[in-house]
């Protein structure tokens, strides 16, 4: 949940930096580099701004179409060094991928028009 009260579902997937690499050398074995940054990231202003920015942009783009529901999928990279969060990035390699799914339940089409506008014989 964001500080504003908005609920955002996050599916956490291990990134390259925390994936166990069989070829890797000595590795400190605290849990902070894989748990703390994820938990702490949600408190970062950068994280909140990134999420809200993406969601607001998508909603604005679809404002005229007024979908009944909308889902947005995008990637966020959290960079941690020495146990400290340094930045939150919404793009990798200069490109960002955002998947938008909008749906309409067509209730407007099934409902009768408002009174006074009812079609009839003329």
């Amino acid at each position: 949940m964001l500080p504003t009260g908005d609920v955002i579902w996050v599916r956490v997937q291990p990134g390259q930096a925390v994936t166990t690499d069989p070829a890797a050398g000595p590795t400190d074995v605290g849990l902070g580099d894989r748990i703390a940054p994820i938990a702490g990231a949600f408190q970062l202003p950068e994280f909140t701004q990134t999420v809200r920015g993406v969601v607001a942009s998508v909603r604005q783009a679809l404002d005229d179409h007024r979908p009944d529901s909308m889902s947005v999928e995008f990637g966020i990279e959290i960079v941690a060094r020495a146990g400290a969060l340094l930045s939150v990035l919404a793009e990798v390699g200069g490109t960002a991928h955002v998947k938008v799914t909008a749906s309409w339940d067509r209730r407007d089409a099934a409902m009768p028009p408002p009174s006074g506008e009812e079609p009839g014989p003329t």
């Binding site: 000595p26 400190d28 074995v29 902070g32 748990i35 020495a82 146990g83």
Partner: protein
Amino acid sequence: MKREDIARHLLVTCSARLDTDAGPQGTAFFVAPGFVVTAAHVVGGADGLPVRLSEGQHRWRGHVADVRPPSAGEMAATAPYPAPDIALIGIDEGPEHACALLGKHFPGEGVRVMARGYTPTFDHRSVTAETETFRLTGLLETPDPACKLLKLGLGEVTRGMSGAPVLDLKTGEVIGMLRTSRKLGSNLGGWVVPASLIRLLWPEEVSLANDFFHRKDSRWRQAASQLGARPSSKKSAPAGGGLSIGSIEADVVSVITGGNVDSVNIEYGPVNRRRPGSGTR
């Protein structure tokens, strides 16, 4: 009772899971009344950081009182924390507790040891305790000439074991603190900050207090005597410590099964409460 069972029980009495506000971070163990140690990278090298410790039904609150070295600064996320990578934590609040019997010398190579740490091994979500045995395979010099690390092999060091006590299965002494895996997902073991160095870093808060604790409370030494050889120290047990082997076993087991850590430390005073910023450097 098997040697490994006794060792496991001794490790339970001194070790604890370490959490910060960001969640579980690793393991720590009591080295003196009111003091635990963990790896510096477990607390992000942050002096004064508040932490929570837990073991069974027991809970403690404390803060980082000293870090060696204080911070890793800008370094690659995958690089090991600079040596020695150890932090002293002062306990502010919580019940009395047992203390690990800290060794004073480098153990011989080939010695079998056991570590106990809090890891997400089971399902990668919950953090639970696990033990692992190793062989001591050698020494590793670091850029700091005063700091040599012990090398373990023939066992797996998993994430969360940073700060775990490593116990000599023959003497019952804790020979040091785990800090690094030599290679994750392998049985190549890891690196250990020697107990002798821990004593050297904090000669009063840890070394003298550890000796004093075990002069007052002989149960760890007596339990350790069942492992096959006596610890290196020749200090005799205090009066009142003349329990039979059988009752010592029962006492150690009761500490574990009953979760009554106080029973190990019945002669020691209240926890030393230190304030953040009153570091010991």
